[in-house]
Symmetry: C2
Subunit: 322 residues, 2 copies
């Protein structure tokens, strides 16, 4: 992985991915006690940065391979990103989703034109289902994070942050990312190492699912004890990726951990002061920027997705009304 791959992805994304705004608000800064800038990827197509990686991967395929279609495993944002990127290319997309994925995410993935294959997480093996479908139809698998072309696509968020921060007169800052498998985080870290080397990337995770923070501290990949039980579903992964982790290890500062309550509180504050809709997993970086002490005067954070069940959003507003 290198900066040239991210620059190449940026060229492929130009005019297709949205250049999302870097937002801030005086009253939010006052709450945080520091300057907080939010890269609003919830405003990206399909409501998360995942569209970038999907588009990057699809546009790098030889046309005759792409034409046969793509397959992805996902319960949420990667599913929607791949589905819409494939629809724009008018090629088939099959998304293998757990039957208990949020109904709205299944419905949206179908609405973007993908074929959704549901499986039972307790009794069925998604890899077996996916391998059979891929072989039968000649589909190409697009992995959610441990794939260089996907990392390159997510890294375009970092290129934009470097440019937008320069426009805002920001020279040094910690850049806090919402971190699952590390695709977004490693992509941003690579981009900033090349374009804004005074900035330091720090991954943020939900408490109890801080595999990346623990792996960085231990110097080796550590796993999460569980794979469910956080409201931050979008960024719960078993462990950092084989490709992403060495990049994180080389380029990132220590991980940050927030509680589910802090993520919900950050959602309510983003609602009130930035007027954007952020999902819990997409709000952990903002929560860290607002509520963690060991950060500098200026923090840039990703609001990486906005696909949230209305009932969860209502709960956030009810619990943190002002």
């Amino acid at each position: 992985m290198n900066i040239e791959m991210i620059e190449a992805a940026a060229l492929r994304l130009q005019g297709h991915a949205r250049r999302t705004p870097l937002l801030n608000a005086p009253l939010l800064d006052r709450i945080a006690g520091r300057r907080v800038f939010v890269k609003a990827e919830c405003l990206q197509w399909t409501g998360s940065f995942k569209f970038r990686g999907a588009w990057s991967a699809l546009t790098a395929m030889p046309p005759e391979v792409r034409r046969r279609g793509v397959i992805a495993f996902s319960s949420g944002n990667h599913a929607q990103g791949v589905a819409w990127a494939a629809a724009l290319h008018q090629v088939p997309a099959v998304i293998v989703m757990p039957a208990d994925a949020p109904a709205v995410k299944i419905a949206n993935t179908r609405a973007y034109g993908a074929e959704v294959v549901l499986y039972d997480r307790l009794t069925q093996d998604r890899d077996v289902i996916g391998a059979a479908l891929a072989a039968e139809r000649g589909l190409t698998l697009i992995k959610p994070y441990d794939e260089p072309l996907v990392i390159a696509g997510q890294g375009t968020v970092g290129l934009e942050i470097a440019e937008q921060a320069a426009d805002a007169g920001i020279v040094t800052a910690d850049v806090v990312t919402c971190c699952g498998g590390g695709g977004l985080t490693s992509g941003i870290a690579l981009a900033l190492a090349a374009r804004a080397p005074q900035m330091r990337v720090r991954p943020a995770e939900p408490a109890g699912f801080d595999d990346t923070a623990r792996s960085l501290a231990a110097g080796r990949i550590e796993r999460n004890a569980a794979l469910g039980g956080s409201v931050c579903d979008a960024i719960i992964t078993p462990q950092p990726g084989q490709i992403t982790f060495p990049i994180l290890q080389r380029l990132c500062g220590p991980g940050l951990v927030v509680s589910d309550d802090e993520a919900l509180h950050a959602m309510a504050l983003a609602f009130a002061h930035l007027r954007i809709v952020v999902e819990p997993g997409g709000a952990v970086a903002l929560a860290a920027a607002l509520f963690r002490a060991d950060l500098p005067d200026t923090v840039i954070c990703t609001a990486s997705g906005g696909n949230v069940e209305p009932a969860i959003f209502r709960t956030a507003l009810e619990r943190f009304p002002g």
Copy 2:
């Protein structure tokens, strides 16, 4: 009023007002049955387009006049826009607000540094209070809409729509605006008449408070029967302005009227598909774009503000969950 005044305001706003994105979403288009583009002024400083007009007025004042400070009457978005624009100029702002204005709007206006003077709408006359304060302290009144410099500031939304629509390949469209006193609508209409004359502006209002639609149909200014009782508080005004109405009459198509329920439904759909927070009065244009039949294949609408009580937003999500 002419396009040169809007261009001059745009120069004064450059680097100070946010260039808000023009958003759209494939699944929203499917619901609407047409292409819908949303100018997301809820992402503007202080959460509404009102910052533009306030900044335009403040920056056009002679420095010695501005230094003495400004005064405004408002229960909401104009209050916050003037308060923050004055704070950035480090000049005093006095905002005369009804004591029963939403608590969060009073709190925010104070947080932006303004002095808030509350009055009782039943027993006190705000004009008397304001005139006394203005005379005593030498404050300059910034009217919310019937003021050329304010209209010029709001018109910069129209300049941006013309540019962003051209970038998106849109040639003809109806441009639906959230219309109260007509400052935003007349400003956009003037800008588009000069820069995108194939586009037609149509004001949208809540049912029962459709003074502009009725005035346009009658060919003379008509008043609303009541001044309260709609959830769309931000755009309830007694009647179109003396300056704004002749502009609307010359340049706008017929008005559009939506119910409070349709505005809440539009808020819920903007939440789900655009991931932006829109207040009821800021959602009437989107509601018209989604639910009115007499509009063309392509509609651009303003999401003019996002300062909404959490309880009202929760109600919108509860009633229109998907």
